[in-house]
Amino acid sequence: MLILFRFSGICLLRTIHLCLPDAGGVVLRDKNFRKIVESINMLHQNLEWFFPHTPEEAVKLIAAQGVILHGGGTRILKTSPKSIKGLVDVGKLNLNYIHHSDKQISIGAASTYDDVIRYSTKTKKLSLLAQALSEAASTPLRNRITIGGSLKDFPIWSSLYAPLLALNAQIEIADKHDKVISLEEYLESGMIKTKHLIKRIIIDDDPHLVGGVKRFALIRFEYPLFTVAVALRAKKKIISEARIYITGVKGRHKHCKRAEHFLIEKELTNDVIHEAVKHFNPKFAADYKYSAEYKEHTSKVFFTDLLQDLKGKL
């Protein structure tokens, strides 16, 4: 019912846009028009803004009902529920940084996708993550979407989760007490659904890890149906560690342990790749465009391509 209402609202808004003489250039000076738009724009007119200077302050503020964090704001504007009464802007929390120390890379939660891509281009680090992020959204959106916001929301089309899980990322959370947990635990413990502030993402700087990521989207900046990420470590071409994740599946993400176990202590040959794919069985839900079988088949093709790409890098 709610979806129907929102859909009809968007259609109405589009119809109004088309009726305007200024071909799409919405001039909101007309009071009646403004009222109509405001009734469709779900964000509350009396929205309260907070600009805390410390994470502790921010955590206290989001404890109130209807108050949420604002990073880049792109997701809030996509969903814009009227239940939001207040927004806590993270802009003054000094969470926009990328540091490298003690064989670890820390990415502040307010860093944008573009910040990570630039860091990777400059330092040649985080290439798996940067590859995924550079294919997500478009240039102007990558300049706004924050890593922390994307992690907290985890939309089904997320390009961020699969590579971060494959990289065994950890996150630092400010809640009642600060803590560092693995991203996998964050998802599986249900913590993602609670109110908290993500302060940073921590990734091991491991030069021996090779990885790749592939996302299935019809056009470059469309939301992907699924994203597969593979990270492998090898000694003399024999795989010693494998991490394989896929997002966009039933349950949102899947840790492909069977395929990982199969690959351990093997050399990545064509025969091994052929067999590994048999152990890669993500389950999808059908949607209005694609059947579950189609997605499953495509994901196996993507997984094969990824392993083929990585064969030459090990």
């Binding site: 909101l28 478009s138 240039t139 959106l141």
Partner: protein
Amino acid sequence: MKLEFKINNTSKALELLPNETLLNVLRNNDFTEVKCGCNEGECGSCTVLLDGKPVNSCQVLAMSVQEKEITTVKGIGTLYTPHLLQKTFVEAGADQCGFCSPGMVLASYSLLKENPKPTREEILVALDGNLCRCTGYVKIVDAVENTAKKLHSNNLVME
């Protein structure tokens, strides 16, 4: 309410509501050079520069950018004093209906400022958030390439 914003190197007090996007606030305060197309962050007509980086102003809540430098297309050149990039857009026939032009120009400006000699592929990536309704992409990419060549041959830097 009225709040101060830094727009095109000038401080301006703009009338706004706390739930309004930067696009609405700019247009309601006479910055109509910022165009509204899809209002969903897909088409790039509403592109402005925030601290020099292109963003979709329809996907930015105005309250969150009070301390940032906002640049609209009039901030880099006007009808009577156009920027080299704007002149080159016209020369290349890249302006066409003109609806996407403010966004295209700003996205290209940001690219050339950072990378004065972009490849065609780099131009395409930089403009991936800007849709041209006339589908005149070849001329637009030519215009960016031509501007880069002019900058290089005249030993100029993008300003």
